[in-house]
Every structure is written in C-alpha cells, then in structure tokens.
Symmetry: C3
Subunit: 224 residues, 3 copies
Amino acid sequence: MVTQDYDLQLLLDILGVFVFALSGGLVAVRKGLDLVGVVVLAWVAGLGGGIMRDVLLGDTPPVGISDWRLLVPAALAGLGTFLWYRHLRSVLPLRADVRAKVIGRSVRVLDAGGLALFAVSGALKALEFQAGALAAVLLGVLTATGGGALRDVLAGQVPEVLRRELYAIPALIGATLIVVGHALDILTPLLIWGAVALVFVIRIAAVALDLNAPTALRTTGDDR
Amino acid sequence: MVTQDYDLQLLLDILGVFVFALSGGLVAVRKGLDLVGVVVLAWVAGLGGGIMRDVLLGDTPPVGISDWRLLVPAALAGLGTFLWYRHLRSVLPLRADVRAKVIGRSVRVLDAGGLALFAVSGALKALEFQAGALAAVLLGVLTATGGGALRDVLAGQVPEVLRRELYAIPALIGATLIVVGHALDILTPLLIWGAVALVFVIRIAAVALDLNAPTALRTTGDDR
Amino acid sequence: MVTQDYDLQLLLDILGVFVFALSGGLVAVRKGLDLVGVVVLAWVAGLGGGIMRDVLLGDTPPVGISDWRLLVPAALAGLGTFLWYRHLRSVLPLRADVRAKVIGRSVRVLDAGGLALFAVSGALKALEFQAGALAAVLLGVLTATGGGALRDVLAGQVPEVLRRELYAIPALIGATLIVVGHALDILTPLLIWGAVALVFVIRIAAVALDLNAPTALRTTGDDR
C-alpha cells in the first residue's frame, strides 16, 4: 500500500535533497569555503539525513550514496549556489551585513522546505520497511533534522535543531500525520502533500513570528 | 546463556538511558536551550550510544528508536530536568557561579552512572550477537562513551572522553570484566552488577581525586 | 576477481589505519590531551573512515572494531606518538611556534598517506560488496575523508575536507581510477599501488603549492 507511492517517495526525496543541499551550499559560501567545500557541504546537508535513515533501517548501501537521481541534484545545488553567489556579488553589490541577513533568511526557508519533505519521506520509507509506528515517527524527525545537524556541526555551528525556534516539533507533527494516515489506511498523495505543506507552514511561521518553546533559564553562554 | 539475562540487559539499558538523558538535559538547560532542545539533547545523550552499538552490530532498527521502554525514560528525563530546573531557580536562588558548579557536578555523577551501565550492557549485547571478544569490549566502551560524546559535540563542547580525567579506562575495565566472565561462564547477575558498581566507583574516584592519565605536553590551546 | 586481492586490501587498510592514527595522535598531543585521549583520537582517526564504510555497506560488525590486525596498529600509533612526543620535547627543545609548525606539517603528510590508502581500499571493498560504480567511488572518498573529519570534529577543528586546499578531489580521482580499472578488468596490484601513489602526490602537491579550488567570496568568519 505504501510501496505504490514509490515514485512519490522518490520525488519527495529529490526535492528534499535539492533544497537541503542549497542550504548546505549557502552555509559553505558564507564560511568562505572553496568550490569543493561547497559541494561537500551541499552533499552532506542534502544526503546526510537520508543516509542516517537508511543505515538505521538496515537498507544498505543507502540510496544517498548509490542513487544518481539523488546525488546529481545535490551536486547541482552545490555548484549552482557557488556560481550564483559569485555572480550575485558582481551584479548586486550588497553591504556585507545585508548580504549576511539575506543568506541567513534563505538558508532558513530552504531548510524549512527540506524539513517538511524529509519528515514525510522519512516516515514513509520507515513504514515501507515495517519499522513500527514509533520508529517511523522518529525516523521522520531524524531524516528531517539529521542532514542539517551534520551540516552545522561540520561548519562549526550549533545545530538548528537545538536553537530556540520551533524546529523539531513541525517535523514531529508531519511524521505523526503520515503514521496515523497509514494506520487508518487513508494515505493518499493529497494527504502526503498536505503534511509537507503543514510542516513547512508551521516552521516558517515559527521563524517569522519568532515562536519559541519555553526555556528553563537563560545563562550567559557556557558557564561550566 | 547470555540471552537468559535479557530482562537484566533491558533494566541496565533503561537505567543507563535515564541517567544519560538527565545529563543531556542538564547540559541543554545550562546552554539556555528551550524545552525542545532539552528533550532532544536528553534523547541524544540517552539513546545515542545504544543506537551506535546496534548499528555496528547490524541490529536495525536500533532499540533506541523502536522500543518505547527506552524512549519514554529519555523523554521523561528531559522533561523532568526542564521542570525541575525551572522550579529550583525559584525556590533556591543560587548565585550563577554556584549553580554552574552544582550542575557541572551533577552532570558528571549522572554521566558516571550511564558510563557504568552502558559499558556493561553494551558488552553483554555484543556477546549476545556473537561479536567476538575484542568487538564486545570495544562496543562496551563505545556504547558507554558514544551518547555523551554526541551530546558534547552537538552542544559545542569538547567530548568528556577526550578531557583529562580517566573516562574511557573504567568503561574498558567494565566491558573487559563482562567479556572475561562470559568466557569463563561465570556471568551471574551479581558479577554484572559488580562490574557496573566498579566502573562507577573508578570514574567517580577519578573525578573526585582528579586522577589523570599523563599528558605529553601542555600547549596553550590550538596552536596549529 | 577483486576478492583475490584480499591480502592487498588488508595491507592497504593496515597502512592507512596506521598513518591516520598517527595524525590523530599528533592532533591530540597538540591539544594537550592525556594518554587516553591520544589513543582514543588515534583510534577514531585511524578506524573511523573504515567503520563508516562498513556500516554503509552493511558489513557488521565493522572490521574496525573486530579485527585486531587493524586495532593494534591504531593503538600502537597512538602510544608511539605520545611517547615520541614526550621524548622529543626533552632532546630537541624547539620553540613553541616552530614545534606547532612541524607538527602541523607532519599531520598533513600522514593525512595525505591515509587519504591515498583509504580512497583505494574503500573503493576496492565496495566493489567486493557489489555496491555499484557510483557508490564505490563515493565510499572511497568517504573512507578516505571520514576518519579525519571525525578526528577534527571531536578535537573542535573545522574538518580538513572543508578547508581550502584540494583534499576530496585527489581521493575522488583515486577511487574513480579503481572503479574504472575494475570495469575494464585491469585491476592489477600495480594499478592499485599506482592509484595510491597518484592520490598521495596530488594531495602533497596541493599542500606544497597551496593549490586551492576557487572560492565564491571570502567572508570574515561567521557573519550569520
């Protein structure tokens, strides 16, 4: 039943890889990395979450290293980011702080798209592999947040998933929706795309409205 | 022979997850993370080591994402840390530096407990999966140190396992004891709990007495 | 056909583990880590790439935790680095900045050797496991860069693979050569060692001549 959505799953994966890879490329250019570094970070961000998912499901080798339909979009996104950024600088000479803000916002929007696509695709693939409802929800969240976390750790940033705005919650909602839809046998393409849209909207709203989960205490950095 | 200790293994795992998750939650509140960040870091610290162990053993999906008996303690520990910390601040208004010291010590004691429980449980599970004596010892050490290392990397700290006090050594001793006990066919619950206690005591003694392995040279930070 | 090169594969692995472990040990002593930290980081650097490769190939438990012929060289390299460094300090009292430069260069040469050996051994093992040409190339690159990246993340450095000089490219060339050689059925020991030498020479030339891939823009650090 889930398997007949194989093409849909692939489409979700390709789109997710592409937008996450763009986010990885942007983080890399902002850090001043070279062309190879940009492509590597695009690859890590785009494919990392899916590779973790496949390893945890025991589906080896993961599609993220064996399927050219996922690898090409990731490489193109990295290359595209690099060339576009270089071009942009000459046609649109922004001030450094404005440019930083524009890139920061672009990363977050792309990241929100990847989060939405991967939360859904991760849960779908886990269900296909009979992983159980709980594991399917968690694998959705991990697929959605894993690539971005790896991108941030490699780039020396605290991962987005640990920062203050709602990030894991929308992924959790989306993955849960898929698992519930599967249990009720109502997992239509419409519901699937609806779940993607919902995750994206919640995440964007969280960023735009600066919605945060509560904190226990604000400390001034690492006071260990 | 090992498999009949299944319930014992599960108990070790649940306790280990719980105390490591508490340590993750505490690191997260100290970093000023929000409720979601606290639960995520509790989950990473509590379940990360076991997930690595299961992936390396080929036991997928890992129990750390599929067994609610491990996931619920991790979530409760994260939630509990958050609420307790918030409450503590109002009933016991400590000075920031005192509070930091109290938390730092609590993290280390909890971490020592998780180290002890996971070194033993990791070696036991590896033996159950026929992984060989050497692999069983190393998987014990990895299970014991992996979750904490992941916690520290995500939180932007140098992992405890690389810091100066004896950390990996007690785990190595505990896992070796289990593997030797298994080879001699004397692996009773008493020996198992004795190994847990021994690891805990050595680690706590190392922290309390500031026992360190020798260093080759102290340099002033990263002088690359 | 590939499998008859099993002994050659093991030899490549052992040498790769040894030089990468030396690089890990050196990074650790430079950071002022103790004996255990030095051995742990040597182990991570030497065995991390191969463990990732094996997990992605589904070959569990990975040889990096079960085969003493790989574990002993890693431990010896860590121990050796520690003792040698301690001794060196007393017989050859260099100024701190000179010493830092010497170590930095040694790390890079050793790292180049490991890169060359692991790019080739990673691609060979992937072919043995029928992983497909694309996956074999990428697993070669991942095996070659994974251990060093893990070493750098744990030590709190930006991974070498993301820095400016050509790093992933030589590994990519070497792994591709192996995969092409395998497809053409001309994979002799001579070609294999030739590929190792080629990767090493390209990488060393890149460091020596400061060859870099182009950058899109130099920014002053993290301007997010």
